[in-house]
């Protein structure tokens, strides 16, 4: 914690905000408190478009979440709808890999998923917030069953290879110790009258009472070994019944170790607006959503269609595509209007008859690297040996995350972990590896957290998003500068074409962003269509 964070310059509001967010540095503090901006999803209930102009048609490019929401709603309004999809399946990044699936990445490396029945990983999105109302709405509508996604598990681990001798720590103890020491420090500051200039005596009394409870401080406002702290951070020997279970209190870790280890960072994600519990996941994998949409839309979706040209004039839109399943036979689809959800990484390479503002916007957004690795083990050792039921372990190792399955608890068979979810340099390096190397590396790194890995590992699969043939990246990275200059142009209707997708939202990489962008786009397109026909 920076020196000035406890200095006299803070207002009470800032002080309390800091307590509430456990911020550990000025930057983190700012980032976390910016959650004050948070508002619910822009989804305002089921879309209700009025009747479409007679005979009007819409061509939708891409059968991901945005494209299929658009198709569903536009068909309902009476439009003639056709969807062109590059893949042989629907969903786009909404995708689940299960045993028997085959995935060929850019460069030609093929992987066969060898997971046992019922086991899976979601290479793309994997969790839904309780306030992602659009996604929840369509899951309910389409009969996609949801179950809890466990974002926070106090029994899971936080790990810094350069702290605590590389030994993983329990989320529970790190959280308790961090909170306890912060509370003790603030109490000390109050007792030393360091807060007198900014916090009234009355409020300081209330603050002290709250710190004592929140930080598990003893009667002297110390965070120390004893019943109070052990009730939060856990015991060396937990209390039980009878003669054999006299509790033994645990020793809190010192402040310098807690702060110096940076492990407090492992607690912050779950505080984030979009990741606060309750979260959900579809039973059977995130791909169940895409599959449900595909069933609903049926023959409206044309698969294996690679778009190679997008043209428009005052009468309509013409999209030329190659059927990749039929030796690239070339065809052209026509419609009055077009909703284009193709990722900008790809769209920027497709000849497209649009104005300079939209063309410039399409070219302004680089795509992020990200990698996920799924690992199958002979048994669920994280449950059997360590009582970790779902949730996420965070580490400074390149794998960044180990996520335990939030389903199938206590089952005696095999289990699949998310063995890595990588960003930054680690993602770039893993992308540059062969799929087999990625899996081997994930096992190697994971072994430093769970020594059971080598003996229990069976097989794995990896998806590096920059090697994905249908996205060429994970998601669009809007800078504030680019957004200020191009975002409105990207979303604006150009003639008869409107874009939708996570790239046309303020929620990068979230399905809710893709969904709400589609709802917004078709509403505007519909009004344009009504205007044009009247």
């Amino acid at each position: 914690m920076k020196q000035d964070a406890i200095g006299a310059a803070m207002t009470r509001r800032q002080l309390l905000a800091m307590i509430g967010t456990c911020a550990g540095s000025a930057a983190m503090y700012q980032a976390m408190t910016s959650l004050g901006f948070a508002a619910d999803s822009s989804f305002k209930g089921p879309t209700q478009l009025s009747a479409a102009p007679a005979g009007a048609s819409v061509l939708i490019l891409g059968a991901g979440i945005a494209g299929m929401v658009a198709a569903y709603e536009l068909r309902k309004a009476g439009y003639r709808v056709q969807v062109l999809e590059y893949n042989a399946r629907a969903g786009g990044r909404n995708w689940t890999l299960r045993g028997g699936d085959r995935y060929v990445e850019l460069g030609g490396a093929a992987q066969e998923c060898r997971f046992d029945p019922g086991l899976y990983i979601n290479p793309g999105p994997w969790r839904l917030s309780h306030h992602h109302r659009g996604m929840l709405h369509y899951c309910k509508l389409l009969g996609v069953a949801l179950e809890p996604f466990i974002q926070t598990n106090y029994q899971a681990l936080v790990h810094n290879s350069r702290a605590f001798g590389g030994v993983p720590q329990r989320y529970r103890t790190v959280r308790a110790d961090y909170q306890g020491h912060v509370a003790e420090l603030l109490a000390k500051a109050a007792h030393a009258k360091a807060l007198d200039d900014t916090v009234s005596t009355e409020d300081q009394e209330r603050l002290l009472a709250s710190l004592k409870a929140w930080g598990a401080l003893d009667s002297n406002y110390r965070y120390a070994k004893g019943l109070t702290s052990s009730e939060v951070r856990g015991y060396d020997v937990s209390p039980g019944g009878g003669l054999s279970a006299r509790p033994v209190y645990s020793e809190p870790v010192q402040l310098s170790e807690v702060v110096g280890s940076a492990l407090w960072q492992g607690m912050l994600l779950a505080e984030n607006y979009d990741m606060q519990m309750t979260m959900f996941q579809p039973v059977g994998g995130m791909g169940m959503v895409g599959q449900a949409f595909a069933r609903e839309l049926g023959p409206l979706i044309r698969y294996n269609a690679k778009v190679i040209d997008i043209a428009q004039d005052e009468r309509g839109v013409s999209v030329t595509f190659e059927d990749t399943s039929q030796s690239m036979s070339r065809q052209t689809a026509h419609a009055d209007w077009c909703v284009c959800t193709i990722p900008l990484s790809i769209l920027g390479q497709i000849p497209m008859k649009v104005g300079a503002p939209l063309a410039d916007a399409i070219a302004a957004v680089p795509y992020a690297a990200s990698v996920k690795v799924g690992l199958q083990f002979k048994r669920r050792f994280w449950e059997e040996d360590e009582q970790i039921y779902g949730g996420i372990t965070f580490t400074d190792l390149p794998i960044s995350n180990i996520s335990y399955p939030n389903y199938g608890f206590f089952s005696s068979g095999k289990g699949v972990l998310l063995g890595g979810y990588l960003f930054g340099l680690a993602a770039a390096e893993f992308t540059a590896m062969s799929p087999q190397e990625r899996v081997a590396k994930a096992v190697e790194y994971g072994s430093r957290i769970h020594p059971q890995y080598p003996a229990e590992f069976e097989n794995g699969i990896s998806v590096a998003w920059h090697r994905s043939p249908f996205t060429l990246g994970c998601f669009g990275m809007w800078t504030e500068e680019a957004r200020a200059k191009h975002y409105d142009n990207l979303c604006a209707i150009d003639g008869r074409i409107v874009l939708a997708g996570e790239h046309a939202s303020y929620m990068p990489a979230w399905q809710e962003g893709a969904l709400t962008s589609a709802v917004d786009a078709i509403d505007r397109l519909h009004r344009r269509a009504l205007g044009a026909s009247s």
Binding site: Q30, S34, L35, L106, K306, E429, H466, L472
Partner: protein
């Protein structure tokens, strides 16, 4: 909370929200202050053009430098006439180009944790490597000082 909410802009918030990167660039290892981050972007140590290519570039441009094609494509660097100009390649690395991220450490607010950065020496090294491998035999080299001169002032 509104009193402090203006400190960060909404665009950064949603980026934070969408991803695992926890500190939006602030968590990069900073050993000089005795603090190191759990979730830093990481920094590639090597100054070998070959190593940099193999650890970053080949993710998209492929180990043989021939690129790849799916719904879209990654351009081949092998035989790419645009590489006639070492400056062009170096600027592309620094600034990024369309869907390709900027590796020059150009401020990408909210995304500093997403893209590894290469320094002048590394950019020069990998530029010189690509222009003389994969069948490329372009004349001349670029130095770190020349790369530095290509950077736009912030």
């Amino acid at each position: 909370m509104t009193g402090v909410a203006h400190l960060r802009k909404p665009a950064v918030r949603v980026v934070m929200a969408a991803l695992l990167a926890l500190a939006a660039g602030s968590a990069q290892p900073d050993t000089s202050k005795g603090v190191f981050g759990l979730f830093g972007v990481g920094h590639l140590e090597s100054t070998s053009g070959e190593v940099i290519y193999q650890q970053i570039c080949q993710g998209c441009h492929m180990p043989d430098g021939r690129g790849a094609a799916g719904a879209g494509r990654y351009p081949a660097l092998a035989g790419d006439r645009a590489l006639l100009s070492a400056q062009f390649m170096a600027v592309t690395l620094i600034e990024g180009r369309r869907d390709m991220p900027a590796f020059g450490g150009k401020s990408q607010e909210g995304f500093s944790y997403m893209v590894p950065t290469l320094d002048d020496e590394q950019i020069a090294a990998v530029t010189n490597y690509v222009r003389t491998h994969f069948g490329n035999q372009f004349k001349g080299t670029i130095s770190a000082a020349e790369v530095k001169a290509l950077r736009r002032p912030h």
